[in-house]
């Protein structure tokens, strides 16, 4: 290894572990001196570059990171909260949709289901009787009025008819109660003028703002009920 090569190698890296360089150094005193000089130079450079590091820098770095990741965690918590809220809202909407959506296609279907649901709560021979006055008080909400009694009225109250406020009347029938619904007109459910299943049958009458739906068992004559209702009901609006 010639001198120039040696110098280049030492200049480039005074701590070189290159075997050739180390061997050349061992054989030549002047090379040893040169290598030592450059090592000293390097030590001086190193010393010059090792400026004092602020004492608290290490702690500051750890502190700052801790604070920063705490912030991130807080943001995450907020995000999770928002996510939970969104899920709750969506859940609520779905529940709402399921509860008040039209599971039935026509008023008739719904009316039948409604009657079956309440079938056991009102007995045909019950003694309760609703007066015409209190019936008409309730009818006022639909701007309607009955001029006379249609029979023994066992029950009259508002109920939810597929999400709509409606009036639910139960009359004593021949063998089982006859149910009459006064339902505001609604676009969602198709009106079925006549409907039936194995036990019950029913019909709808269309008035200006309301429909009246009659559901009874097959011993009743719906025509008579229809006729009686249309003759006695009047609408103020």
């Amino acid at each position: 290894m010639d001198d120039l090569q040696f110098r280049r190698a030492i200049y480039a890296d005074p701590n070189t572990q290159d075997a050739e360089v180390l061997a050349a150094q061992r054989q030549d005193v002047s090379k040893q001196k040169f290598a030592k000089d450059i090592s000293l130079l390097d030590a001086r450079i190193k010393q010059a570059l090792e400026v004092p590091v602020p004492n608290d820098l290490c702690n500051k770095l750890i502190l700052r990171q801790t604070l920063a990741s705490h912030q991130v965690q807080k943001r995450k918590t907020r995000f999770h909260l928002a996510l939970a809220a969104s899920v709750a809202i969506v859940g609520g909407l779905i529940l709402n949709f399921m509860q008040f959506s039209n599971a039935y296609h026509t008023l008739g279907d719904y009316a039948l289901a409604h009657v079956y649901y309440e079938k056991d709560s009102i007995a045909n021979n019950a003694n309760d009787q609703v007066t015409l006055t209190s019936l008409n008080k309730k009818m006022a909400a639909f701007d309607g009025n009955f001029s006379k009694k249609l029979g023994k009225l066992l029950f009259a109250d508002y109920c939810r008819f597929d999400g709509m406020k409606s009036l639910h009347l139960v009359y004593q029938g021949k063998t089982s109660p006859v149910t009459v619904f006064i339902v505001p007109k609604n676009e969602q459910l198709g009106l079925s003028t006549a409907f039936n299943d194995e036990q019950l049958f029913g019909s709808s009458m269309e008035f200006k703002d309301n429909n009246i739906i009659i559901v009874a068992d097959k011993n009743e004559s719906l025509d008579v009920w229809q006729k009686n209702i249309s003759e006695t009901v009047s609408w103020s609006s």
């Binding site: 000089d37 090792e50 590091v53 990171q65």
Partner: protein, 171 residues
């Protein structure tokens, strides 16, 4: 979570000094260097999972720091490498003769072309090998070795023609 914290703290403890000194070298200002190191470690924390090889941690951090430093220039749009300014502010804190000499030598290194001083700093301060420096600076190894050779060569010449005159320097 905890292991990440432990890793991070170990990294900070082991390498913050080297990083700060390198930052100080780049910025010549204590406060800026400190900010730079903080930014670097904050970024390192976020990307800590991408650091697979702990041995590579130092050059990884140096690379982040260099990138952060470049970003600082983009933001400020003026040249911070004006060394004289820092010399003035720093002289006040210089007290001992040793520190004076260190200061003088730093000034000489700073006067080298950046392309020479940069690998020199990385080698002496960072303890990086030629290969490491080549990858940090995105150069090939031979270029790095040549630049290291020229850096020391020039520095030695400067030192030989201008011996330390502390009296003169002290004014």
């Amino acid at each position: 979570m905890m292991t990440k914290q432990v890793r991070y703290e170990a990294l900070v403890k082991a390498l913050h000094s080297d990083l700060y000194r390198y930052a100080y070298w780049l910025t010549h200002e204590k406060q800026v260097a400190e900010d730079l190191v903080q930014e670097t470690f904050l970024r390192a924390w976020r990307a800590l999972d991408s650091l697979k090889d702990e041995k590579a941690a130092k050059s990884w951090l140096i690379t982040i720091l260099r990138r952060e430093n470049a970003r600082r220039f983009e933001r400020k749009r003026f040249d911070m490498s004006e060394y004289e300014e820092a010399t003035i502010t720093d002289t006040k804190s210089v007290t001992t003769e040793q520190e004076l000499e260190n200061h003088w030598l730093r000034d000489k290194i700073a006067k080298l072309p950046t392309e020479y001083s940069e690998p020199l700093i990385l080698q002496v301060l960072g303890g990086f090998s030629g290969e490491d420096i080549a990858s940090i600076l995105d150069l090939n190894k031979n270029t790095v070795m040549t630049r290291l050779f020229r850096a020391r060569n020039q520095l030695k010449e400067i030192l030989e023609e201008e011996p330390v005159k502390r009296g003169v320097y002290n004014g």
